[in-house]
């Protein structure tokens, strides 16, 4: 358990690029190096972590901990994965406040903001390509996004409404067969 907690800390200290960037590191460390769990077990955990809400790295840590030591394991593992980024981001927030006023930093951020915007746009396009197979659902999603942006309706509400439409549509189709 202690070994697991320490390796999770190590992974989240070096794991750049968000949760998805950390998964291959976890696999390398926990499955290949420490042989704590089998390849299939790890893939099962990741699949489950992905289908529930929340940061995927945290969900994976909770499930890994549960497998080894129940709820206590989950708590220890999620703290291990959260602590390193918590302190590094605090430090960076402090530093950023100091350098924000320099024009070179501001110009860098001008480009970086555009870059991040493009990343999000591109990510939604990729998701659509990968998991949306029906034109009707695509239409509903675009309409939903427009409603959120231009009519300032809560994203939570729109999300839940769309989810129930998609869910009942899938259920109906299944029953007709």
């Amino acid at each position: 358990m202690l070994k697991l907690a320490l390796s999770l800390m190590k992974i989240s200290t070096i794991g750049l690029g968000g949760g998805y960037g950390m998964l291959p590191l976890m696999e390398e460390e926990l499955v290949r190096k420490l042989k704590m769990l089998k390849e299939e077990e790890f893939l099962d955990i990741v699949a489950k972590a992905q289908s529930f809400p929340g940061p995927i790295a945290v969900n994976t840590a909770i499930l890994l901990g549960r497998m080894k030591a129940g709820i206590l394991g989950s708590i220890i593992c999620s703290i291990s994965i959260v602590l390193p980024p918590f302190f590094s981001i605090l430090l960076i927030a402090l530093m950023f406040e100091k350098v924000e006023k320099y024009s070179i930093v501001r110009n860098f951020m001008f480009g970086a903001r555009l870059g991040v915007t493009i990343i999000i746009i591109n990510y939604s396009l990729e998701l659509i390509k990968r998991i949306i197979k029906s034109r009707v659902i695509l239409g509903i999603l675009i309409a939903g996004a427009v409603v959120i942006v231009f009519f300032k309706i809560s994203a939570f509400l729109v999300f839940l409404i769309i989810a129930s439409i998609v869910f009942f549509k899938a259920t109906n189709r299944e029953e007709k067969r």
């Binding site: 940061p55 939570f156 899938a170």
Partner: protein, 172 residues
């Protein structure tokens, strides 16, 4: 108390953040910029660039950073706890309830995963509207989109290049 507001706000976000980090981000943008007005869109984007370039899950990094910006250290702690608590609730309670009452829980989870695209797309549109506001930023955005889609760079390298281009465009 702002720190307590942050806690409940991030719990709500964590509870419905399907689709990993980006799903969470879309909800965070909507709540923190849109509903509460705690931050502006450019500030939110600064935070995203920073969390993308630092280690750790982006949703956690954002929660910590926003919490700190708005209510100091206690804000950072409460926001971070707030965003991960719902994961526990899902893994330990709700997943069992769903598996009990639904014949096919996959279908519900799939519907939720599809639907999260709407908020993500909305966040993308919203941020585009606030960053792309003249010819220079429009051209730069198209250039960056082409660069990103060529898949030659990791996301961190991509943001560094984007920032470099920003410095070039603004200086010369």
């Amino acid at each position: 108390m702002k720190a307590i507001d942050l806690f409940f706000c991030f719990m709500k976000i964590g509870f419905l953040a399907f689709g990993g980090g980006y799903g969470a981000l879309s909800m965070i943008q909507n709540e923190v910029v849109g509903v509460h007005g705690w931050m502006t869109n450019p500030e939110f984007l600064d935070l995203l660039s920073i969390s993308q370039m630092t280690p750790g899950p982006i949703a956690i990094n954002s929660a910590t950073y926003i919490g700190y910006k708005i209510a100091g250290f206690s804000g950072a702690v409460l926001s971070t706890i707030g965003v991960i608590l719902p994961s526990f609730m899902w893994m330990y309670f709700i997943s069992f309830i769903i598996e009990r009452i639904l014949r096919n829980p996959r279908r519900l989870l799939n519907a939720l995963r599809m639907s999260i695209i709407a908020p993500i797309l909305a966040a993308g549109m919203n941020l585009t509207l606030s960053t792309v506001n003249d010819l220079i930023s429009f051209i730069l955005a198209l250039l960056l989109l082409t660069l990103l889609r060529s898949k030659k760079l990791s996301l961190i390298q991509f943001i560094l290049v984007a920032g470099g281009l920003g410095i070039m465009v603004k200086t010369f």
